[in-house]
């Protein structure tokens, strides 16, 4: 446990060996913690909470295995859990992510994928790949809403979200399905009717 915590302390944004909050403990009812401003940087002290409170959320080592996809129901429950709140707070999951690249202008496209051979194969994986409990599915509305612009209703581009191309395409597919099944409400153009086309022919 100590070595994992030390790792978290020394390596900040560029760390791949980031300890994650255990989802198993996440689904237990802990008291709501104020979210740390840096999003993903959590410390055992912040997580411990006041003495005599519910059992604290556990830190567990990073899991790079993505060969067993998480069911969407688990992901939906995760987004309501204390572990999610402690990790991301009330901000979208992509807010605290920063891409690594040479120079100050990022490449136009993000990387193609973070997962190869069923394992995380990159340093600094994208926001959807690094947390295996974030499943982009048409039923997971709480997650999908984070990738839609508040003001214009557009799906956010990878230049803002930092998603890898494969995950971005999964997002687009999930959004199309969400609109098809009506799980995500969205605006349609206003239809103007010409009443003359529908009036009954004069009797």
């Amino acid at each position: 446990m100590q070595s994992v915590l030390r790792l978290a302390g020394t390596m900040l944004c560029r760390s791949t060996a980031r300890p994650c909050l255990s989802a198993g403990a996440a689904l237990c009812q802990s008291a709501a913690r104020p979210s740390p401003s840096a999003g993903l940087r959590t410390s055992a002290v912040a997580l411990a909470g006041p003495v005599g409170a519910e059992p604290p959320l556990e830190l567990r080592p990073l899991n790079k295995d993505r060969s067993n996809p998480v069911p969407v129901e688990t992901s939906i429950a995760y987004l309501q859990s204390a572990a999610y709140r402690a990790t991301y707070g009330s901000e979208p999951v992509w807010r605290s992510y920063r891409r690594n690249h040479k120079g100050h202008i990022p490449p136009r496209k993000t990387r193609r994928t973070c997962i190869r051979g069923g394992q995380l194969s990159t340093g600094n994986p994208c926001p959807a790949c690094r947390d295996e409990y974030l499943v982009l599915d048409y039923r997971n509305v709480a997650l999908l809403r984070q990738f839609v612009s508040e003001s214009t209703g557009e799906i956010l581009d990878t230049s803002r979200t930092g998603l890898c191309q494969v995950k971005h395409r999964e997002l687009l597919a999930a959004m199309t399905k969400a609109r098809e099944y009506g799980t995500l409400a969205f605006d349609v153009p206003f239809r103007v009717y010409d009443y003359n086309e529908y009036k009954p022919s004069a009797a």
Binding site: E180, G182, D187, V192, K199
Partner: protein, 343 residues
């Protein structure tokens, strides 16, 4: 449902200017909600601040009123459409020439989509006009409408439709139904009826207030003679104007003669309603403006409650509560004025 062989055709009543005016007046017409911007992926512009003279301001106000009417245009209420297929020619010698149907469409841009020529040549050589289903799909392929899909979205099928309604996304469902379907499509009638029933059962009328769908909801309820819940809602909110207008709409739609624009409002109209005899006084005064006195309004409402309502005790209780409240208010105002006068 508006279906049925012997049932009346709502389109004979819907387009009358008096019904249209009632539907417009029943709406709250809050400008903030009517002009709420739709998020359609467009680039947002900064608001403009303009200096105006009084004349400019009047002109702008008239323009806003005009735009309000456009935004609150009620989707047409029609009965379900009748089949439109007919065989134009039979050519048995063409059998075996093609193994699939061929569809021909006239894509002239100045034609109405409902009147466009669309024909189908079957593999057995029959040439016929396309049925409504085929017409909808082919029109959407060649002359696409923004926001419409070629096939019906699964959102309008069960169980997804019920799930959307349980999440109370009424306006979203109705807006999309308006874009997707024609008003006489049986699917459109099914979806809108299910939505209005759900709104009525949950009493969530304010979700549709200040939208174009409130008029359609009021028409639906009045047509099916189920205005009691909505009437109760208006009375509890002390909107007697709207309550009276709803009763007028109910009476108009119940009259045996379809309402036409030519005949002026007369006393005969109210007496024609079968099984619902109202006093001739309230019949003639019913068409006057909002400035009806409260007493007259209460008379009209009480008349409806006694003669035609289903939920009589609940409505009577609500009316009594309203009268007590307004009497209390008047008493408090009188005492306040007396106290102010003394000072």
């Amino acid at each position: 449902m508006f279906a049925g062989v012997a049932s009346r055709d709502p389109s004979l009543y819907f387009f009358s200017s008096r019904v249209q005016e009632l539907l417009f007046q029943l709406n709250d017409r809050q400008h903030d909600l009517v002009f709420k911007p739709r998020k359609l992926g467009q680039k947002l512009e900064a608001p403009q601040y303009v200096f105006m003279t009084d004349e400019d301001l009047d002109k702008e106000r008239r323009r806003i009123e005009q735009r309000l009417r456009e935004k609150l245009q009620v989707p047409p209420v029609l009965g379900p459409r009748k089949p439109i297929e007919r065989v134009l020619a039979k050519d048995p010698r063409l059998e075996g020439l093609h193994d699939s149907k061929l569809v021909c469409i006239d894509i002239s841009p100045d034609l109405s989509d409902r009147k466009r020529m669309i024909t189908v040549r079957e593999p057995d050589g029959t040439l016929r006009t396309a049925n409504w289903n085929e017409r909808g799909r082919i029109n959407q392929i060649f002359l696409p409408v923004d926001g419409r899909t070629v096939t019906m979205p699964k959102m309008f099928e069960e169980p997804h439709l019920t799930e959307c309604l349980d999440r109370e996304e009424y306006v979203s469902v109705l807006d999309r139904a308006c874009v997707q379907f024609e008003p006489d499509d049986p699917d459109y009638i099914r979806v809108t009826s299910a939505t209005y029933d759900h709104v009525d059962a949950a009493r969530l009328y304010e979700r549709l207030q200040s939208t174009r769908h409130f008029g359609a909801l009021a028409f639906y309820l009045a047509w099916h003679r189920r205005i009691d819940n909505l009437l109760l809602y208006f009375i509890q909110l002390e909107k007697l104007n709207q309550a009276v207008k709803l009763i007028h709409l109910y009476r108009l739609l119940r009259s045996a003669e379809p309402v036409s624009d030519q005949t002026p409002p007369t006393r005969q109209e109210s007496s024609q309603s079968d099984g619902y005899s109202s006093s001739s006084d309230s019949g003639s005064e019913s068409e006057s403006s909002d400035s009806d006195s409260e007493g007259v309004q209460l008379d009209i409402i009480r008349d409806y409650i006694e003669n035609a309502s289903v939920k009589r005790p609940v409505l009577e209780l609500a009316l009594q509560n309203f009268q007590h409240l307004s009497a209390e208010r008047r008493r408090v105002e009188r005492e306040q004025r007396r106290a102010d006068g003394r000072q």
